[in-house]
């Protein structure tokens, strides 16, 4: 467990990661919405960006998020075969597979970038996975390696 503690004012608070989440419009974004209306709690660490499809996620989105200082990145799309655009997520999956291996190769903790599938009916699953991703990033601690210094 990472012991990083930041001081805010007088009281000491445990460090909370900031995670950017790219959610596909048709499945995961609706899934997050469902989690919301079903009042399923998930960590407030994520900030959601809606994208048309997980295939829209350029590797640059992920890498720029990291250099800008986000502690973690989550990308979520429709399950394989359920893509609104037929095959967007399948193309994306190959891209993510290579990006994930390369990030690890370059010595960036593999847990910083997480990929997941969540459909519009899976509010519960969405919440569970976000909880899991937040836990992983929290254990890794703040993103210092890849963040731009100047």
């Amino acid at each position: 467990m990472n012991e990083t503690i930041v001081e805010t004012g007088q009281e000491k608070k445990e460090w909370e990661p900031k995670i950017i989440a790219f959610l596909c419009n048709w499945c995961s974004y609706a899934g997050a919405d469902l989690a919301g209306v079903s009042r399923i709690q998930y960590p407030p660490n994520i900030r959601i960006v809606r994208v048309p499809c997980s295939g829209r996620v350029n590797p640059f989105f992920i890498i720029k998020s990291l250099t800008d200082g986000w502690d973690g990145v989550v990308i979520s799309g429709c399950h394989p075969g359920d893509c609104h655009y037929i095959s967007g997520n399948l193309v994306a999956r190959r891209r993510f597979a290579i990006l994930k291996e390369l990030l690890e190769f370059f010595g960036i903790e593999p847990g910083r970038v997480n990929f997941m599938w969540a459909s519009a009916a899976e509010g519960e699953r969405f919440a569970v996975l976000i909880r899991k991703a937040t836990e992983i990033v929290k254990n890794l601690g703040p993103n210092t390696k890849f963040k731009k210094k100047w």
Binding site: K64, P80, F96, A97, L102, F106, G107, M116, A133
Partner: protein, 339 residues
């Protein structure tokens, strides 16, 4: 047989093939290597008549990948009236692979190409030798038997040949350009059919056993000297975008500073763009003014696409490269799942 003898054989065969092609008007121009003005470097040359054939050379300093001149075509290979000229290209294994990969990306019409295949015997690691010679000026380089002999003003040094090859050349499995049965008349000279290539990738596996921290240190050590001159991009036969991501200013994806994160972003994205496309010619490392050897990253890319998608780049112009293709049953073990 010594290396010098081998080189002479390759050279005379290549000249014969080139002469025949020009004589029979099968090609309009031939692109090959000529003796460089500097030692340790050969230059590319385009010839269009029989007299110039003797200018073509093969030695172990021909590090350029000549496929670079085909996409986009250099003006010398086009005719204002006829359009694209028919080009013969002197091809070692990696040049042949680059031609095939460009054809599979529909950037090249194989009808306009004739491959003059040569069985490559490796390219000398220029950077490493220059580093070890230091500031003394190199005036003459020759290869004999299994030694590289470097001569300069009042010094002479010799290096073992096998050890001072490019890292990628040491591991190369495609020495002569590949050919498929459907394209048998594409190639003259030495070409070979490669059904599949067995490779252990031991050096990549060794690297993969390191911890994340060690990897970061290692990559930092290699890349931190990078000045981002983009010589690697300029020399790479696969880098043909009209507007490269590093020149884009709308949006600016990453800064132009020498901060390590900016350098890393460039190399990461360069690697992303090379996945399943790198033909392992090692030109990027050979042209680097800072002497960065990118072979480990390039080998890793080859390993990823081989393991995941069972693809080796540039062996068949009819198979789609993995990054423009997909399958329903692709591996997805890296996805986050519920426990």
């Amino acid at each position: 047989m010594g290396i010098d003898k081998e080189n002479q054989d390759i050279e005379s065969n290549m000249r014969d093939q080139a002469r025949n092609l020009l004589k029979e008007k099968k090609v309009d121009a031939i692109i090959g290597y000529k003796k460089g003005t500097l030692p340790l470097m050969a230059q590319p040359i385009i010839i269009d008549n029989e007299e110039d054939v003797d200018k073509l050379v093969w030695n172990n300093m021909c590090y350029m990948n000549l496929a670079k001149y085909l996409v986009p075509r250099v003006p010398k290979l086009c005719d204002p009236e006829k359009g694209n000229l028919k080009v013969g290209i002197v091809a070692k294994g990696c040049v042949g692979r680059a031609v095939f990969l460009l054809a599979s990306e529909k950037k090249l019409n194989l009808d306009e190409i004739k491959i003059i295949g040569i069985p490559c015997n490796g390219v000398i690691n220029r950077q490493r030798i220059e580093m070890e010679i230091g500031e003394k000026e190199i005036l003459e380089v020759s290869v004999s038997d299994d030694k590289i002999i470097i001569k300069g003003k009042d010094f002479e040094e010799s290096f073992p040949y096998e050890e001072y090859l490019n890292e990628l050349c040491k591991l190369c499995k495609v020495k002569s350009p590949p050919i498929t049965s459907k394209l048998s008349d594409l190639c003259v000279g030495e070409c070979q059919e490669y059904p599949s290539i067995e490779d252990e990738f031991t050096e990549v596996s060794d690297y993969d056993t390191k911890t994340t921290e060690e990897k970061w240190e290692h990559i930092n050590e290699i890349l931190s000297v990078c000045t981002r001159c983009y010589a690697c991009r300029e020399a790479c036969p696969m880098c043909y975008c009209n507007l490269c991501f590093v020149d884009q200013n709308k949006p600016i994806w990453f800064g132009k500073t020498s901060d390590i994160s900016d350098i890393m972003v460039f190399h990461l994205i360069r690697a992303m763009h090379m996945a399943g496309r790198c033909v392992g010619c090692g030109t990027c490392s050979s042209v680097c003014p800072m002497g960065i050897d990118l072979y480990l990253i390039n080998r890793k890319l080859e390993k990823i696409v081989k393991d995941r998608y069972d693809f080796t780049s540039g062996l068949d112009p009819e198979t789609l490269p993995p990054m423009v293709n997909f399958k329903m049953e692709d591996e997805q073990e890296f996805m986050l799942e519920e426990d």
